[in-house]
């Protein structure tokens, strides 16, 4: 059970965003800019970074939600899995691998991102803005993962729920402009 009274039927982050609307607003806006704003990183690549960071933070709700979203956007269900096993062997570009390493080090603690990590990303074509956004996406998911797990919000088991959530994130983004996906407890 969650540590605070959450509206029934709204698992994970969805109930928390309804619990306090004035903190939810900037969190949603920041996420929309980073994950759906104009960028040279694709939506799928950004969702992969979010999934990987959530996975490293062992936040099941965020990992499953963003994994389903990344899978839908990649139209491929093996990329996320292979990144979880081993970033270096995953079937993704060298640039994306370099960005995932920066995201992983940011997740650990920002100080561990080295000049060499950043240089390696640049060598493979990453721009300053892509490096910036990778660090900030990783940081933002360190917020989300702690918010969701720190309040022990409910994590459904069935994959159907995450599929519906992913459909909403693919089609409508993060602003909460459509009704939340309800899951009966």
């Amino acid at each position: 059970m969650a540590h605070i009274p959450i509206q029934p039927g709204l698992p994970g982050i969805t109930g928390l965003l309804e619990y306090r609307l004035d903190s939810a607003k900037p969190i949603r806006e920041l996420t929309q800019v980073l994950m759906r704003g104009e960028s040279t990183l694709t939506f799928a690549e950004r969702e992969l970074i979010a999934t990987y960071v959530s996975f490293l933070n062992e936040c099941t709700f965020c990992t499953r939600a963003h994994e389903a979203t990344a899978n839908a956007l990649f139209e491929n269900t093996t990329i996320v899995d292979s990144v979880k096993w081993n970033v270096y062997n995953a079937p993704i570009s060298e640039k994306l691998k370099a960005l995932l390493i920066i995201a992983q080090k940011t997740q650990l603690n920002g100080k561990t991102v080295s000049k060499e990590d950043v240089e390696n990303a640049r060598v493979h074509g990453a721009t300053d803005l892509e490096i910036h956004d990778t660090v900030l996406i990783s940081s933002l998911f360190c917020l989300y993962n702690r918010y969701v797990d720190g309040l022990a919000s409910w994590t459904p088991e069935d994959s159907g729920f995450y599929q519906k959530l992913a459909d909403r994130l693919v089609n409508h983004g993060y602003m909460g402009t459509t009704k939340p996906v309800v899951h009966e407890e």
Binding site: I4, D22, S23, K25, G110, I131, V135, C142, R146, A152
Partner: protein
């Protein structure tokens, strides 16, 4: 030197905010809502929580700037800030604030380690649901801000005196820049 080209002279998160105004706007607003807007937790206590989390993440810029803001809010009780920085949850603060710092410290490590008992203790000492929510979200938000500042190696002034004025400004106007 920062990992991305930032405007010289701007320290820490200010230099990153100037680099990308689209993400700066909601980040400023979040800090304002959590630390400055009306709440049953004083701004001083909320800044102490932010300082404690930043210090555990070893983010010097955020620790020094929020410590300065906390001191500015707490005035004659400003010594609490250094007590918490040195002694953490063993500092001479109210039992309620100790219980909230315990929750914040666990969120900093990983949300999953906050227990029902940690929350029950805070509630028994008078913490409301909203205060528990805000404590978790402040700790989570600083787990973001700290990583953003250090992950891009933004400029960190080394002299504590450089943070005093910054803290006074944060305590007096909050985090949303005045409309020009």
């Amino acid at each position: 030197m920062a990992h991305i080209p930032t405007q010289p002279g701007l320290p820490g998160i200010s230099s990153l905010f100037a680099f990308r105004p689209e993400t700066a706007k909601p980040m400023r607003e979040l800090a304002h809502v959590l630390l400055y807007s009306e709440s049953s937790l004083s701004s001083g206590d909320r800044e102490v929580i932010a300082t404690y989390v930043s210090s555990r993440n070893q983010c010097v810029f955020c620790t020094q700037s929020h410590a300065a803001a906390a001191r500015a809010h707490l005035k004659e009780d400003a010594s609490i800030v250094d007590d918490v920085l040195l002694n953490g949850v063993n500092a001479s603060v109210s039992d309620k604030l100790k219980s909230l710092l315990t929750i914040a410290g666990k969120v900093q490590k990983g949300g999953r380690i906050v227990t029902d008992e940690d929350v029950a203790l805070a509630k028994s000492l008078g913490a409301t649901d909203m205060e528990i929510h805000d404590t978790v979200l402040i700790a989570a938000a600083f787990s973001m801000f700290n990583r953003y500042v250090d992950g891009l190696a933004s400029f960190t002034p080394q002299d504590p005196a450089d943070y005093v004025e910054m803290g006074v400004r944060m305590a007096s106007v909050g985090y949303i820049p005045p409309k020009s």
